[in-house]
Amino acid sequence: MRYEIFKQDAPNQPHSNVGSVHAPDAEMALMHARDVYGRRPNAVSMWAVPESEIYATSHEERTKNQEPRTKSQEPEAQGSRLKAQSSKLMAHGSSPTSYAVFRKTSQRRSMTYVAYAGTVEANTPEDAVTAAMHKFPNPTTFVWWVCPEAAISKTEAEATPSWFEPAKDKVYRQQAYYGDAARQSRRQRTELVSKLMGDETQDEA
């Protein structure tokens, strides 16, 4: 099963989609997410959501009142990330459900993926998007993702030190570590390491 992964870089920033992992269940999905997307700083929290629980639509589709496409109809060439409209999503019944809302508000290259905006109460995923459009009118949103809040599996706060902090010490994962490191004495290496650890620039190579 595929899980979409959302990573939070700092406590005051929203969880942003970084990609997906394959896993048999949510616990394994979060562990894989840590290895695949948290190897380098920064990360303080991760969420995993089964792909089938995510309903995605674009501003264009909503305004033209088009039927959302299923994943198989997705135009891959455009890099669109529309999710399947799962029957599971529709079966949440008539009582309002809390939906998490994610959106993409920029076409800049660095802002390729959706980020968490907040929650809305709705009966269906379509209604959740309508509610989200009213609740989060600005700035212009290009892509909406909604999923039942209950479908999100989260890393525990107490896991943060062991899950994410060691990555800060692993300067050998940074390119700058190589080139000189092998020729240096332990003292020089230690100095380089402290310098690199102070340098929080992210290297997602």
Binding site: H22, M28, M31, D35, S162, K170, S185, R186
Partner: protein, 253 residues
Amino acid sequence: MNAELTSTLDSRVLALADDELILAHRDSEWTGHAPMIEEDIALANIAQDELGHATLWYDILCDLRGQPDEHADQLVYFRDAADWRNAQLLELPIGDWAFTMLRQFLFDQFEWVLLPALAKSSHIAVAQAAAKVLREEIYHTRHSTAWVRRLGQGTAESHRRMQTALDVQWPLASQLFVPMLGDAALVAAGIWPDMAPLQQQWLAKVSEMLAECGLVAPATAATRISRHTHTEHLVNLLADMQSVARLDPQADW
């Protein structure tokens, strides 16, 4: 520290460093071959962590011996099998995924009981290293536990593979706790914990998990294999791992 304490601590630290290094090497053999890409990355990550832990312990050893840190490279690349002090459990070939995950689990649980005690060592460098390693072991333990549970409780085939691995590994696992000459003085000085009660903690924790998975530890007499003895697998591992360094011992890396 007097000469006797230093010598025993040297043996203890060397054993731990060798355990970490040999396990790191075995885990790294899965790189490019793991059952799925996500696990390939996960185990490569863990192998790199274990290698980092080995480096921490070898650095302490270099200080204990008053040797420059190049000494660690000598120990790793130019030491013959008879002089290694790792437990035999860690030198066995990787086997299948169940074998590798069970070994990782048994070793992670060993560190899980040892490191908190070691973090209270009166030897500052040892205590600091243990605390640092422990932080990463929280994740390692969770990863290997998740796999033992899934394979142990999974299909008949995955359960059979776990049981087969356990039959081989169980008699060797107790070697992790084998006593060493001079242990008592080290314990009295608060430098190293008493391994006997730690082994009981480990046994309780591991047994709980095995029971949860319906896995049966084979009834074997408690063997006390010294850390001085090895299988032919270590010889083969070292031949592979040391071959490049030994091609040109004077090479400047």
